[in-house]
Every structure is written in structure tokens, then in C-alpha cells.
């Protein structure tokens, strides 16, 4: 019990700011000034409607979804295909190719932002959501390939041999044996990328200048500057931007944490 009490006390450092954000999002101006730390007396749901429409969070929300889905799917599909070949087959140049992908693990996306910007200028993709999708898919691949390759290598040999004996093609083995068996690892990669891409901030700051193409974190930061005094609206916007990812996290926390731990602990 003593340990539970200590943990409970320490958890206030997370719970308190979180409750405060949500409570403030439901207050009107008067309540925010008179009762800044308390719970709302009257629930001001209008803050959410205002943030969604006038604050443009509806549009930001849709943009974020439109970036996250193709990126996460792209990473999963492309890395599964590559990891399958790397894990199960011998071919010329395999090690060199794999090492080539590993370069991506040592270079963070941030340092590439300047050339990426001018690349998108020449492709005429500035202010286009593809400017966010393509680089994030590319930078997501090395880790996903590494993780999935490791997973596929550990699959039981007998099952794969059975597929071979039954006359499966290379494609068939991937489609009917490897892919279903790899579902936990694929889910890890997917969840990890969804959360990461949903929160990405640097890329949109540089690549999206048009208000209508902003994603949630970027929209929120602009909103902070412009409506910084309208706390109720601001906190409603913040809640809109973190609720989906918190839900995804709570449902899939095992896979998400596994992804993080695998990223940090997997031997290369």
C-alpha cells in the first residue's frame, strides 16, 4: 500500500496538468479568471464547437488524419516487403543493401529539413500534404525494416517449410504465412508510426505555410500565438489534438511500448 501511495502522489505530476487542461477547456472566461484551478461549475461545451469551426481545428484534424494514414500504411507495407526479402532469402548485394538502410537509423529527420524544403519547392509540393507523407515514410523505413526482419527471422522454420512444400510462391509465402504470423510486429510498427507522425512538428512548420493545410500540432502552435489569451478555446484545441492519440495509446499501449523498447534494446 505504501508503494501505491507514493506512486499515486508522484502521478500527480502527470494527472494534474492533464485535468487542468481539460477542466479549463470547459470553462468560460469568467470562471477561468475567478476559479483558475478548480473544476468548471458550468460546462462550456461551446468552446469545442468554436475551436472546431472558428479555430479551424476541424480542418487541422482532417489534415492530420490524411497525413498519418498513408504514412503509417506506407511504412508498414514497404517495410514488410523489404524485411521479408532480407530475412528469408540470399541474394547478391544483400548485406550492402541492408547497411544502406541502416544509415537511416543514425541520421535524424531534423537535420535534413533544409534540403527537404528545397526538394519540395522543386517538386511543387510545398503546402501539399505529400510533402509531409513522403519524407516521414522514408525516415520510418529503416527502423521498421530492422524490427520486422528480426521478427520474421524468428518465425518457426517448420511452418515456412510447410508452405514451401505445399508449393507456395515467394509471394504466397509472404501473403499467407509470414504476414499473418507477423501481425503483432506489424501492429507495433503501425502504432509507433501513427503516434510519431501525429505529433510531428518540425516538418509542417517548414513545409506548410498555407493555413488550410496545417496539421494539428502546427495549428495549435499558431493558435497559441493568436488566441493565447482565450484559454478556454486554446485548451479545447489542445484537447482535440491529444485525445485521439491518447485513445490509440491506451488501446494499443502494449504494442506501442513494445515498439519503443524494441527500438532501444534490439541489437543491430
Amino acid at each position: 500500500m505504501a508503494y501505491t501511495a507514493i506512486a499515486g502522489f508522484l502521478s500527480l505530476i502527470v494527472v494534474f496538468p492533464l485535468v487542468w487542461v481539460i477542466a479549463t477547456s470547459l470553462k468560460d472566461r469568467r470562471q477561468i479568471i475567478q476559479n483558475p484551478l478548480g473544476l468548471p461549475e458550468v460546462y462550456q461545451w461551446a468552446n469545442y464547437a468554436d475551436a472546431w469551426q472558428e479555430g479551424n481545428f476541424g480542418a487541422y484534424f482532417i489534415n492530420s488524419i490524411l497525413v498519418v494514414i498513408p504514412t503509417a500504411l506506407g511504412v508498414v507495407v514497404l517495410s514488410l516487403l523489404a524485411a521479408y526479402a532480407f530475412a528469408m532469402y540470399r541474394f547478391r548485394g544483400k548485406n550492402a543493401l541492408f547497411t544502406f538502410f541502416l544509415i537511416g537509423l543514425t541520421v535524424p529527420l531534423g537535420i535534413l529539413i533544409i534540403p527537404i524544403f528545397y526538394q519540395m519547392v522543386s517538386l511543387k509540393l510545398v503546402n501539399n500534404l505529400w510533402a509531409l507523407i513522403l519524407p516521414q515514410t522514408a525516415i520510418g523505413l529503416p527502423f521498421a525494416i530492422l524490427l520486422l526482419r528480426g521478427f520474421i527471422q524468428e518465425l518457426p522454420k517448420e511452418v515456412l517449410d510447410a508452405g514451401r512444400i505445399d508449393g507456395c510462391s515467394n509471394w504466397g509465402i509472404l501473403r499467407f504465412i509470414v504476414m499473418p504470423l507477423s501481425r503483432p510486429a506489424l501492429l507495433s510498427v503501425m502504432i509507433f508510426n501513427i503516434v510519431w507522425v501525429w505529433n510531428q512538428f518540425l516538418l509542417p512548420v517548414v513545409l506548410i505555410q498555407k493555413a488550410s493545410a496545417r496539421t494539428l500540432p502546427q495549428g495549435l502552435s499558431v493558435f497559441m500565438g493568436r488566441y493565447g489569451a482565450d484559454f478556454g478555446l486554446l485548451m479545447a484545441g489542445a484537447t482535440i489534438s491529444f485525445i485521439p492519440v491518447v485513445i490509440v495509446y491506451i488501446i494499443f499501449q502494449r504494442q506501442f511500448i513494445k515498439g519503443i523498447a524494441a527500438g532501444a534494446l534490439s541489437g543491430i
Partner: protein
């Protein structure tokens, strides 16, 4: 592991090609382009001029760059101490699977990790606000009004204040890795130690610490690497100010390239930052290799 013989339908390289195209086009190409840009003087619009390694010479004598880099190093050292210790403490507390509510607490403590850094910035902007922020309101209410500060506006306090906000997120990462490592230790060792009358410190020193050494290496190096990538929080909360008091290398890179329109120089700053990070990554891989050999 299984190595299958390839059947004569399509080459295995075929499966790698799609990933290779995206990776080469949107990761390797910008990387090569970055090296090229650093050799040119360019404002981003007009014709660029080849100047060789002049930007690198300039970087060596650029006091603003060195100050920003020193802030990143300060950050790194603080990061290796504060969130790592706090994460370890929580992991020891929560990895007792018998503890009531252990799983729920894990979920809560890790939650800041999934917030966007803008949300985190918003929360801490409120906590640090000089007039209605949580810290100053609290200090005033307990009669310590003389201790209230403009936490983000004071050049002596801004960097530690930003660091605390960042630590509020990062400890969740260290905690989760420590928990994974501690859970992997066989309970039998602790039971045996208890039977032998080992106290908590001895259990920690002789059982726990040796078995989490690998995790500790990982955490310290990942933490060190992320200290050089601090961008979002600083950019949203202070943009490196007041003055250059909280300027860090990634923000300086962006300012050079896009605000001051010195694209080539910004690229050079990026490369310097990349070299530090790659240095730590190589060190990391080497140390992991050592631990794997000795396993």
C-alpha cells in the same frame, strides 16, 4: 533462422525496390543535397555561388553557434542525470508486479510520451506564466512571493525551465526501458538475496545494477542523442530567447537557413549537428556490440 531457396518467379530484390525508391528519394537524396548545399553561398532565391569549405571555417569562429552547442551539451548532461534517475526510481517502484495498480500507474506515467510537444509546450507555458502560472500562484499562496520568477523570460532560468518541461516527457522513455530490463531479471535472485539478509541498497547494487547495465547504456546514449535534437519545445516557447539564452543548435539551423536566408550556412550547421549525433550513434552501436559479445 530459415533461409529459403528463391523460386524462379521474381527476384527477392523486387520486394526491396519499393522501399528503396522511397528511402533513396526522400532520405538519401536530401542527405546528399545537404552536403552539396553547405558548399554554396545561397539566399534560397537568386543564383548560388560555390565557396568550397568557407562555411565550415566560418562555423569554427561563430560564437553564436558555439553558444547554442554549449546549451545542447548542458542539456545532455542534465538529461543523463535527471530523467534517467527519475525513470529508474519509477521503474523500481512499478516493476513490483505485486503492487496494487501497477499497470494503471505505468499507463499514466508514460502518457506524456504520446503528447505532441506543442501540447507539452502549452501546459508548461501555463505552469511558468509569471502572473497566473501554477508555480507563481502556488509560491504566492504559501507566502513565498519573493521567489516568484519570470521563468521563461529570465536568461539565467530559461534553459533549466525548458529542460524541466522536456524532462516531464523524457522520463517516460527511460522508465519504460528500465521496466523492461528489470522485469527480465529473475525474481529468484531477489528472493535469495532477501533470505541472505541483503538490504535494499545491496539488492540494488549487486543484483539490479549489473542486470540493467545494457539498458543503462542504451538509455544514456539515446538520451544524449535526443539532447542534440531539442527543437519543438524551444521553438514554441522561446525561439531561443531571451537574447540567445536558450538558443540550441536545431533552432539556430532553422534561423540561419530560413530567417536569415543563409541556406548554405544553415546546411553547414545541420552537418555539424549530424556529426555529433552520428558520433554518439556509432559509439552506441559499438557499445551494444560489446555487450552482445559478452552476453
Amino acid at each position: 533462422m530459415t533461409i529459403l531457396r528463391w523460386q524462379n518467379d521474381v527476384s527477392p530484390v523486387f520486394f526491396i525496390v519499393p522501399a528503396l525508391i522511397v528511402y533513396t528519394g526522400f532520405f538519401i537524396y536530401p542527405l546528399v543535397k545537404l552536403l552539396e548545399l553547405s558548399l554554396y553561398k545561397w539566399d534560397g532565391i537568386l543564383a548560388r555561388k560555390f565557396i568550397g569549405l568557407r562555411h565550415y571555417e566560418k562555423l569554427l569562429g561563430d560564437e553564436r553557434f558555439w553558444e547554442a552547442l554549449s546549451h545542447n551539451f548542458y542539456w545532455m548532461i542534465a538529461a543523463i542525470i535527471v530523467p534517467v534517475l527519475f525513470g529508474l526510481l519509477l521503474a523500481i517502484l512499478l516493476s513490483r508486479s505485486s503492487m496494487y495498480g501497477s499497470i494503471i500507474f505505468r499507463t499514466i506515467f508514460f502518457m506524456p510520451q504520446v503528447f505532441s510537444s506543442v501540447t507539452v509546450a502549452l501546459i508548461w507555458q501555463w505552469i511558468y506564466n509569471p502572473s497566473y502560472g501554477a508555480i507563481n500562484v502556488f509560491l504566492t499562496s504559501i507566502g513565498l512571493e519573493q521567489l516568484t520568477q519570470g521563468w521563461l523570460g529570465d536568461s539565467a532560468l530559461v534553459l533549466p525551465s525548458l529542460f524541466i518541461a522536456w524532462s516531464w516527457v523524457h522520463y517516460g522513455f527511460t522508465m519504460i526501458i528500465f521496466i523492461a530490463a528489470i522485469d527480465a531479471v529473475d525474481e529468484v535472485f531477489f528472493d535469495a538475496a532477501k533470505v541472505d539478509g541483503a538490504n535494499l541498497w545491496q539488492q540494488f547494487r549487486h543484483i539490479l545494477l549489473p542486470s540493467i547495465r545494457g539498458a543503462l547504456t542504451t538509455i544514456i546514449l539515446v538520451t544524449a542523442i535526443s539532447s542534440f535534437q531539442i527543437f519543438d519545445l524551444v521553438y514554441v516557447l522561446t525561439r531561443g530567447g531571451p537574447g540567445d539564452a536558450s538558443m540550441v543548435v536545431p533552432v539556430y539551423m532553422l534561423e540561419s537557413a530560413f530567417t536569415l536566408r543563409r541556406v548554405g550556412y544553415g546546411a553547414t550547421v545541420a552537418i555539424a549537428m549530424g556529426l555529433v549525433i552520428v558520433g554518439f550513434s556509432v559509439l552506441f552501436l559499438a557499445l551494444r556490440g560489446i555487450y552482445r559479445d559478452s552476453d
